[in-house]
């Protein structure tokens, strides 16, 4: 590295001394001797200048004080010098002004960058609302030379001033700190951090010091800050020497150069940066704790809210002053799952951990690691945490306490991991946590025209836990530089997810999402979106609409976490276009891409032939086998009705011979029991067998409370399928629900498309969801003599999103028929 020439000094011996100090620093890395030596030298320059220019004019009534960093004797090689000239009241004479000017000039001539202010004692003891930095700088005042009596007067008046203004000064300090943190997006994990100003930097250490001076906080953490302070001092000292100016940006070049220095025991910049983040994290957390402790003192409303939050306490935890404490921390040893309940509490209520709770976790970390490495499947708990509204907050707490790496061992590979990339601003772990925050922020963007579309996608997915887990893993392979990171991440996820106890189907989806997390962003910039081949390629790669939605959300969150401006409106538009062309292609395939198995057994081949390819993509091998066996066991003209309960909802599977009005009758039969259909799919094979699946919820808990109702329902549906019970009669008894309020109503919309498929008409319906809607809609088609070939029904909150492929006598619907269907369909939509 090139080190600039040593600080020059017009005073005898200055240059030599500075050169020696620098050489010593580069050998030992000990910044404290540099700070001490430079402060002493600057003291001598300032005192000499005072003696030469001010002493002859001011026999009394003038004192020179070092303030700020200079007052604390923390002068880095190129730090500014802050000096306060304390003067007696009264207008200065012309001679005095001239002397002062010569004094300042001589210091500037010594190549010191001096900032000075001239104040009386009274002015020093006034609150400067617009310039509290002045008041704060006085907390570090140090007498250099001049009128000692004047300085004693200031010292005598300072306690009274501080006593009266302590809280206000602290509030200003907190406000300035919050503004400074916000400039750095409230994170320490910048790839090229400013070690003075960024969160966790030297300014935060000063904040701790000032709040202690103002007696707002205790000094209990002093010892813990010693190591970070020495490390940051050493870094800053080096940066100053290296660039020959007051430069505090630890950029990539500086990271490489500093790692080559003998005083740092690291061989690789990524290791020295991990050390930096470790210290910065300790400083940042201490600063945040002190900030919150001060902020909580000044608002009775806020205090009231905090008191109210104490009611959140439960049998495991207690909340005191917005901090979560274990009720019985010793239980951590016997009941390690207490940590997971803690994360769930944080994810639900967004309360910070108390320092004591963090300490307790740290103490038990070895045992907790051992437990989490054991055979206990953690996914049910983890899934619950990930589904909570503040899951990212809980994950951050797990990350900060080292628990996340205990639960997901490969997480340790990306902790504070730096990947040098022009676009990325954060370390890999921070980037990952931001992706999950982005997902949680989405629902609030519902009304934003660009982001709202993605918010709607999020509300369409059943659970966000799997996407969040995929996001947690998506870059975890970056710690392993030997292979493509998407593949490495998938490999690590595959190895760990089985142990977590994730079902085979979810594992498949998880691995798919991780491996393909870059394909949509790749298509956005690298593929011709107007080329039909792009849509086909994407559809074949992604395979189902469900996966497309998950992948689109993941891409949205991933791009948005690269840096604060990465997800520009332009990119959102491009991502939406990619989503749209793939969505269209997957919808088209529903009808036009049929299964034509070649290597299956003849009976299975007969069963599968003609189902849409979607059937194979959404069902596991076991499910397909089960359907096949159910069909095999069915009498030639019989029906199989199967109802199972899973994840709080019911799934109805029906296999029967196709007949007119069948799908509508099934929808009606389910609705007649007061059930609310959430999803439905209907496929038919070329042998005339239909496979209809319905996912429904039981809002009145009829089936839960009366198990015998399930048998009655199964029996009724079977009779309906076989045409032995008239569904209209069943529906006549169904209770009418209250219509939703006008404000929340969704106006029904119908779209016909004769272009998408080669053999059928696509009808898309968007309507307010209600029990019986699907029956009313499908009955319109059936009564008009149409055949429903494929159905895909979904619900998003209160919105039903239905896709039907309809034919009449084997052909697309003619235009006049479409027009005659519109009015009754709309009537069905609007109840």
């Amino acid at each position: 590295m090139t080190v600039e020439k040593p600080l020059s000094n017009p005073l005898a011996g200055g240059a030599q001394a500075a050169g020696d100090t620098q050489a010593r620093f580069l050998r030992t890395g000990d910044a404290e001797q540099v700070l001490e030596q430079r402060s002493r030298w600057v003291d001598s320059v300032v005192t000499a200048a005072y003696e030469a220019h001010l002493a002859p004019v001011f026999s009394t009534g003038m004192a020179v004080l070092a303030v700020g960093g200079y007052g604390r004797r923390e002068l880095f090689p190129h730090s500014d010098i802050d000096v306060l000239l304390l003067v007696a009241p009264g207008d200065p004479t012309g001679v005095a002004k001239e002397a002062l000017s010569r004094f300042l000039q001589s210091i500037w001539d010594s190549e010191l960058r001096l900032s000075h202010s001239v104040r009386t004692v009274k002015e020093c003891c006034e609150l400067h609302e617009q310039n509290v930095e002045l008041n704060i700088s006085l907390l570090d005042q140090r007498f250099l030379t001049g009128d000692e009596a004047l300085h004693r007067e200031l010292l005598a008046r300072t306690p009274k001033f501080l006593g009266a203004n302590r809280l206000q000064l602290a509030r200003h300090l907190c406000k300035l700190t919050r503004q400074r943190h916000a400039k750095f997006h409230d994170t320490i994990h910048h790839l090229e951090p400013n070690i003075k100003e960024a969160p966790g930097g030297l300014r935060d250490l000063q904040l701790l010091h000032w709040l202690r001076c103002l007696e707002m906080t205790s000094s209990s953490e002093d010892a813990q800050m010693e190591q970070p302070r020495r490390f940051l001092h050493s870094m800053r000292c080096y940066l100053h020497y290296r660039s020959g100016r007051d430069n505090n940006l630890l950029n990539f070049e500086a990271q490489e150069a500093i790692t080559e220095q003998s005083f740092l025991p690291f061989e690789d910049p990524s290791h020295s940066m991990r050390e930096y983040y470790r210290h910065a994290r300790a400083v940042h957390r201490a600063a945040l704790r002190d900030l919150e402790s001060v902020e909580s003192r000044h608002s009775s409303l806020l205090a009231g809210f905090r008191d109210w939050r104490t009611r959140l306490s439960n049998s495991d935890f207690t909340v005191s002053r917005e901090r979560l404490l274990f009720k019985s921390p010793q239980l951590l040893a016997q009941d390690p799952k207490l940590c997971l309940r803690l994360a769930a509490f944080l994810g639900r209520h967004r309360v910070q951990l108390h320092a004591d709770s963090e300490r307790r976790i740290q103490e038990h970390l070895p045992q907790l690691r051992e437990f989490f490495a054991g055979p206990e499947p953690l996914w049910p708990d983890l899934r619950q945490i990930l589904d909570l509204p503040h899951a990212s907050f809980a994950l951050r707490a797990l990350h900060d306490t080292g628990l996340l790496a205990a639960i997901i061992p490969s997480w340790a590979q990306i902790e504070c991991y730096v990947v040098r990339d022009f676009h990325h601003r954060y370390t890999v772990d921070e980037h990952t946590l931001i992706t999950i925050e982005n997902l949680e922020l989405l629902p609030a963007s519902k009304d934003d025209p660009a982001r709202g579309r993605f918010a709607h996608l999020l509300s369409e997915i059943e659970s966000s836990a799997l996407v969040k887990l995929a996001l947690l893993y998506h870059d975890i392979g970056k710690g392993d530089e030997s292979e493509d990171h998407s593949l490495a991440s998938r490999r690590l996820a595959a190895a760990e997810s089985e142990k977590l106890g994730i079902s085979a189907q979810d594992r498949q989806t998880l691995e798919f999402l991780i491996e393909n997390h870059l394909i949509l962003s790749g298509a956005m910039t690298g593929r011709d979106l107007d080329d039909p081949d792009t849509a086909t390629w994407l559809a074949h790669k992604i395979t189902t609409l469900e996966r497309l939605k998950l992948l689109t959300l993941m891409t949205y969150c991933d791009i948005g976490a690269v840096n604060p401006t990465a997800l520009s409106p332009w990119r959102m538009e491009q991502l939406w276009r990619v989503y749209l062309i793939t969505y269209r292609e997957l919808t088209r395939e529903l009808k036009d891409e049929m299964i034509t198995p070649s290597d299956a057994a003849p009976e299975l081949r007969r069963f599968l032939t003609g189902f849409p390819t979607r059937y194979l993509r959404i069902h596991s091998t076991q499910e397909i086998e089960r359907h096949f066996l159910l069909d095999q066991g069915r009498a030639a003209d019989g029906a199989v009705v199967d109802i199972t309960r899973q994840n709080g909802v019911y799934q109805l599977t029906v296999l029967a011979n196709d007949r007119h009005f069948l799908f509508a009758s099934l929808a009606g039969a389910v609705a007649s029991f007061g059930m609310n259909i959430l999803k439905a799919e209907a496929f038919a094979n070329t042998s005339g067998t239909v496979l209809d699946t319905f996912v429904f919820e039981d809002p009145q808990r009829t089936l839960d409370l009366n198990p015998q109702e399930l048998d009655r329902m199964r029996h009724t549906i079977e009779r309906v399928v076989l045409g032995r019970t008239d569904v209209k009669k069943l529906l006549g008894k169904r209770p009418r629900l209250m219509p939703p309020s006008k404000g929340g109503r969704i106006t029904g919309r119908i779209t016909f498309d004769n272009e998408v498929s080669t053999t059928a008409t696509l009808v898309e319906v968007v309507a307010e969801d209600r029990p019986g809607l699907l029956y009313d809609l499908t009955a319109v088609f059936s009564e008009a003599g149409c055949n429903i070939e494929v159905v895909l029904v979904d619900t998003e909150a209160h919105r039903a999103l239905d896709v039907f492929y309809v034919t009449q006598q084997g052909s697309k619907l003619p235009e006049p028929l479409l027009e005659s269907l519109r009015a009754p369909l709309l009537a069905a939509c609007n109840g």
Partner: protein, 112 residues
């Protein structure tokens, strides 16, 4: 010296950059823009709702080249950005009076 402003399809950016690099043109400014020429917009329907997509995402490249290399650069750029379909984009050419490198005050073609 000439300034070339090229509006191209986003997916052609990498290809264009590579082609220019191959003939020794490294410096350029890239902006993500939206717009349309004769291609106009089109209507898209998603879940029954119609969206007018009138401004399509494009990429704008700006580069300044010595006049002597202009034709070569135009040829390379158009060949790399072309798909032959509507929407491939356009080039606009301007005369540049002077160029100054801020770091060391180099002027004219030496600053490129």
């Amino acid at each position: 010296m000439k300034k070339i402003e090229a509006i191209i399809q986003p997916f052609k950016l990498e290809e264009v950059k590579e082609a220019l690099k191959a003939i020794g043109i490294d410096g350029m400014t890239v902006t993500e823009v939206r717009g349309h020429g004769r291609q106009k917009g089109h209507k898209e329907v998603y879940r029954g709702q119609e969206y007018m997509v009138d401004l399509l995402p494009k990429v704008k490249l700006e580069l300044v080249v010595p006049s002597s290399r202009l034709e070569e650069v135009i040829k390379t750029l158009t060949a790399a950005a072309r798909t032959g379909k509507i929407g491939d984009g356009k080039l606009f050419l301007y005369d540049v009076a002077e160029a100054v490198r801020i770091r060391n005050d180099d002027r004219g073609e030496a600053a490129l």
